[in-house]
């Protein structure tokens, strides 16, 4: 076979992979949409579930998801950004151990975070099954991803900015506040959104730390069932819950896609504004 012939054959055979990936996305959308779409209406989003979720809505699950999202992201943001700033701007060697530890954290399965959160936050600190315990546990889970992304955002700021600061005799922390952080802020915002996607998709952590109560959480120390856990419960524990599981999955998928496509667009939008 000629080289050109080999290339054509390889192009066709390997091309099955990306085409199949597109088909898989279609399969997920259709598979969830067919069962779920007929069940989604305004009341589904505003009512509490009845008959273990076979009827009624998912309002308490939306509330629980919002709680853990706000607590998780809010808790991870300050230390995560501080660690990233240190690693990118102030560390003078000796960070190898920190980086290895971040890799280890990133490799831990979510069920391990869940068990740790249960033993530490729920039991030792006495938070019980609560959105607080769930939010704090998931904050630890997203920390390595967030630090990595923020550090990359800072490192990606053009070297000219630092050189200009040095030429002006600015201390590094002034440069950081005035120039580097503002310049990196679109990518940091994108990192937050990506981390939010992780929180929304997580289920094992919340099963062990936030519980599966179908009541609406009204405070930090109340339990709550997030959307992902609701999908699991409906699909496995509730006979005839499949359609409602698909409807919940549809709502969750739309939420995740809306957030993550926000992550892709955010830097451009923010940059345009700062440039104008």
């Amino acid at each position: 076979m000629t080289p050109a012939g080999r290339d054509r054959l390889a192009g066709v055979l390997l091309g099955v992979a990306p085409v199949a990936a597109l088909m898989l996305v279609a399969l997920v959308v259709v598979g969830v949409g067919l069962d779920g779409a007929p069940e989604v209406h305004a009341a589904f989003l505003t009512e509490a579930p009845t008959q273990a979720g076979r009827s009624g809505g998912i309002a308490p699950m939306l509330a629980a998801t919002a709680w853990v999202l706000v607590i998780g992201i809010g808790t991870a943001l300050p230390p995560g950004l501080a660690a990233a700033v240190y690693l990118a701007e102030f560390a003078q060697g000796g960070t190898r151990m920190v980086r290895v530890a971040l890799d280890v954290l990133a490799a831990l399965p979510s069920v391990v975070y869940g068990l740790f959160g249960m033993a530490f936050f729920c039991e030792l600190l006495g938070f019980g099954w609560s959105v607080l315990a769930g939010g704090l546990t998931v904050a630890i889970m997203i920390l390595p991803l967030f630090v990595r992304l923020c550090e990359a955002a800072l490192v990606a700021v053009p070297a000219d900015y630092r050189a200009a600061g040095a030429a002006l005799g600015l201390p590094r922390w002034r440069l950081l506040g005035r120039v580097l952080l503002p310049a990196a802020s679109p990518s940091i915002a994108a990192a937050l959104v990506l981390a939010s996607g992780r929180v929304l998709a997580e289920s094992a952590v919340f099963l062990f730390t936030a519980g599966a109560s179908t009541r609406t959480p009204h405070g930090l120390l109340e339990p709550g069932r997030v959307l992902a856990v609701h999908i699991y419960q409906l699909a496995v524990e509730v006979p005839g819950g499949g359609a409602r599981a698909a409807a919940t999955a549809l709502v969750l998928l739309v939420g995740i896609v809306a957030t993550t496509s926000g992550a892709a667009l955010l830097p451009q939008l923010l940059l345009r504004r700062t440039a104008a």
């Binding site: 050109a4 080999r6 290339d7 390889a10 055979l13 390997l14 992979a17 990306p18 085409v19 990936a21 898989l24 996305v25 997920v28 598979g31 969830v32 069962d35 230390p79 501080a82 660690a83 240190y86 690693l87 102030f90 560390a91 003078q92 151990m97 920190v98 290895v100 530890a101 280890v104 954290l105 490799a107 831990l108 399965p109 069920v111 391990v112 975070y113 068990l115 740790f116 033993a119 530490f120 920390l143 390595p144 630090v147 201390p171 590094r172 922390w173 002034r174 998709a201 289920s203 094992a204 099963l207 992902a228 999908i231 699991y232 699909a235 698909a246 999955a249 998928l253 995740i256 993550t260």
Partner: protein, 278 residues
């Protein structure tokens, strides 16, 4: 480069946050180990490997079937996902028209964001009904491996994509100058040079598969037994924890934390292996 006075103070104030990253994994391991300690002291670590039965309420704690289940489902998932991921990474970098490269990568990023419970749900509602007539109840090794493969595919595919993109273009250009084609360049230059990073990406995906809880929990069947065939119901280490944690107390609960320790050991061994090679 030395920091100036103000900078030194800021660095000093920020340093503890970086070290938080070191403290947290240590804290997590210590807590899991402390909860596992009571039953480990009583039975010894070996009992968890040598006993073939798991009857925690009667003091029999064999984790062998669950370890086998985790290894088997992970390995099968990787065997399904790896060729797909490698073909994907090569095609979008070297062969695909622009629209397919962009669309394929967007698809993988979308799939990476899909919650594992949604894959589990789809497997239950779309895949299991196809099998249930011939192999009731349809749950078990095959469905779990397929579900896991789909779940880890984006991790593996995007890693291979990055690994292939990192290979300098001079090699393939030189191969072309010899009158050979892109595929010859793939075999002679790109695959050998990207091999280490591809392997690291695939190991990362295998770690994901071993650590996945909910999707497999939904389709594995969760019977404690060594998997005997493609439609055999089985249980993973993670599934063992999720199924029993809600009602476990005392030594039983402690034994579930031992499950987590074994899982940790497997995943960290993978991470170390991967770190040593690259």
């Amino acid at each position: 480069m030395r920091l100036r006075l103000g900078d030194a103070h800021v660095a000093w104030a920020l340093r503890p946050f970086a070290w938080l990253a070191v403290v947290l994994p240590a804290l997590i391991v210590v807590f899991i180990a402390a909860e596992a300690a009571p039953v480990l002291q009583l039975e010894g670590a070996l009992a968890f490997l040598t006993d073939a039965r798991w009857a925690p309420t009667s003091g029999v704690y064999g984790l062998g079937p669950m370890i086998a289940g985790t290894l088997l489902s992970g390995a099968l998932a990787l065997a399904l996902a790896a060729p797909w991921a490698i073909a994907f990474g090569l095609h979008v970098n070297l062969f695909a028209p622009r629209w397919l490269a962009i669309g394929g990568r967007a698809a993988m990023r979308l799939l990476a964001g899909v919650p594992s419970v949604v894959f589990g749900l789809l497997a239950l509602t779309r895949l299991v009904p196809l099998l249930v007539a011939r192999h009731p109840p349809g749950l078990g090794v095959v469905v779990s491996a397929v579900t896991l493969a789909v779940m880890i595919l984006p991790t593996a595919a995007l890693a291979v994509d990055a690994a292939v993109a990192q290979v300098p273009r001079e090699g393939p250009v030189a191969v072309r100058a010899l009158g050979l084609g892109t595929w010859d360049g793939v075999r002679a230059v790109i695959l050998p040079q990207a091999a280490a990073n591809i392997r690291a990406g695939l190991l990362l995906a295998l770690g994901r598969a071993a650590g996945e809880t909910m999707a497999v929990l939904m389709v594995a069947g969760n019977t404690v037994q060594y998997p005997t065939g493609p439609f055999s119901s089985f249980r993973t280490l993670t599934g063992n924890i999720a199924v029993e944690m809600s009602y476990a107390t005392g030594l039983h609960r402690s034994a579930l934390f031992v499950s987590a320790l074994f899982l940790l050991a497997m995943v960290l061994a993978l991470a170390v292996f991967d770190g040593r090679r690259t």
